[in-house]
């Protein structure tokens, strides 16, 4: 970070479609913007070709590859925003933890945190600007190559979600090891969550500096917390991130960068989240968007239901001739499979719904 605040590059192409950004700021819009979580759909043939034979995190560290994977779906679909291709686990890597992507198994930490003493293995001072430089470079490159068509969204995992990965050592259906920390080592848990928050704040500001025009924070593991644990171990850090990022942006005299918070399976926390400093609250597919609209005052982001897409397809395409729209929901599925279960590769035929961050359908998608 520059000592004197954030300085944005001046030479990015002018933004042509700002519908997403205006919607997020609560302004009037002509159509409801649609975007898709993880731009780089794993089931696009061009995606598979680009990624073939390459290690997942090696790809994440290549700005050229991330840029290409981010842009691919935009060439097929008229989305209103793009999200940079990357992974939430780059943050634990930056803090000194090794993460491998095991085919068929998902992300794996060979040496997860087992006891509070293991916190000593983490870097005390993380040089975010150099450790995560590859993400920033990918954002800047993509921001240029996207040619102002749509805004570029940056993202991060939230502290509790990253903490649970670091302790579980990978995906987990129960997160029981990480929850054990919350109860058994509340102080160490708060210490780790604070360390993560510090890095995340720097990381998000670095993304803004590199050209990100909106930011999403993924709290993917809210479902294994209850309301009490959420209020103690998740919400305060989510709030802190929004406050610190926004303060710094304001202090630097820059325009506000809209932020989205998405706490998957955190139905019990939606009211708190809508008052936590984020412009947009993401809903998951267990939330009825109309009820949420009535009870929450924030801009809401909601997935398109798979039924809407499948109902529009007279017969489900085979993997050899996939209807373009199916790609949308398939690569969205793949994203959430990844973050929820840690599974890297899923067959096309396994994909059956849309656990994604779509804004509600705009006219172009009404027929779905």
């Amino acid at each position: 970070m520059d000592k004197d605040g954030l300085i944005l590059p001046k030479d990015f192409p002018e933004l042509k479609n700002d519908t997403f950004l205006r919607a997020a700021q609560g302004e009037e819009i002509e159509h409801i913007p649609v975007w898709c979580m993880r731009q780089a759909g794993r089931y696009l043939p061009e995606f598979r070709e680009s990624r073939a034979g390459k290690d997942f995190f090696e790809t994440c560290r290549s700005p050229e590859a991330c840029c290409e994977l981010t842009l691919q779906p935009l060439r097929r679909f008229p989305f209103d925003a793009a999200i940079i291709f990357s992974d939430i686990l780059v943050v634990p890597q930056a803090m000194g933890m090794e993460v491998q992507m095991s085919p068929g198994k998902g992300p794996t930490f060979p040496e997860p945190l087992k006891e509070p003493e293991d916190l000593q293995r983490l870097k005390t001072k993380v040089d975010v600007s150099s450790e995560l430089d590859y993400v920033f470079k990918a954002i800047t490159l993509t921001r240029h190559r996207i040619e102002g068509k749509v805004p570029l969204i940056g993202f991060t995992g939230a502290p509790w979600t990253l903490m649970s990965y670091m302790i579980e050592g990978g995906g987990s259906p129960t997160h029981s090891k990480a929850k054990r920390w919350l109860y058994r080592y509340p102080e160490a848990s708060h210490k780790l969550l604070s360390q993560l928050t510090d890095v995340i704040v720097e990381y998000l500001l670095g993304q803004v500096k590199a050209g990100a025009q909106a930011l999403q924070v993924f709290e993917s593991h809210t479902g294994c917390l209850g309301p009490v644990e959420f209020k103690e171990f998740s919400l305060p850090y989510l709030r802190d991130i929004a406050r610190r990022v926004k303060d710094k942006i304001k202090e630097s005299g820059l325009d506000n960068v809209p932020m989205i918070v998405f706490a998957k399976d955190g139905h019990y926390g939606l009211e708190d989240l809508s008052e936590s400093g984020y412009e947009v609250v993401g809903l998951d597919w267990t939330i009825d968007p109309r009820s949420a609209r009535n009870s929450l005052s924030r801009c809401l982001q909601t997935p398109i239901r798979a039924g809407h897409i499948l109902a529009a397809l007279p017969t489900l395409p085979t993997s050899d001739s996939i209807h373009p729209f199916l790609y949308i929901y398939i690569y969205i599925l793949s994203c959430l499979c990844f973050s929820v279960s840690g599974l890297e590769e899923k067959l096309v035929c396994k994909a059956t719904w849309i656990p994604a961050h779509f804004m509600p359908q705009r006219s172009a998608y009404q027929r779905l």
Copy 2:
């Protein structure tokens, strides 16, 4: 089932503690009853000894073993009810599907249902009374051996949960194959759900006939459904089960048998569930019991939070000297790990919370 209705054995010992049954029926009670999901805590030393070297489903098929495993925790804790040791997957087995318990992996169907044609592999007419006779025998035996100390609860998996196991072939974080059926083959899905419902109704009535004094229906996979899918593929069958079981019991001139419905992660369906014909609605640990109490008119069943137990333990016991109360929450954990993730064996140290069906704490547990 007897042609002329249900006939209960007359010679069961008289019930001494009917607090649970009265609470479930909405009657006045002196203390809030506590019970524990799956009586046979996997982490009780006596449980491990009883189960050592034996196949899981072989154990389920032994009335003597099920009775012993059901009674073990009652010898340690002053619970107000017991639940028969069994497994929800005995129903798919009765319908002709093979299910194995793979150590470290959980339940596995070597030949899961892949396409609607595979429904032909299921028995068209299931002779529940002979196929599941071993469960009925276990219930009758346990009802005798429990000596009237507390009532005995029978249980079943709900149709959607069993359907998803039968299609996924085991535990799954996303249930994507099963969800694919809902969208792609709605008719076949309803056919399968109806077939399951028919067997489940017979199965629950058989349990009552064998001596079960309350019945719980586990819809463990509600979290991967949204409100729309729930209303179409889960709720109607849950309602149908309650209606048909209660009608038959009434028709036979028997006393009402209280029924509990537990739809894990089905926060969006609680209002519907409270009007679905069950006396008790089970909450999961993401639901604030006080809010639920204010909005739902049914008797509620809620887990005790791990924090309450851990806060009472000055230091968390090691696996060599475990505080008795820890067993409670540990074996509860093991139960849900099983139904949620399909993992059969978990180490004691992994256990960190109570995803269980405890009624709210009664005085004996207030110190927790």
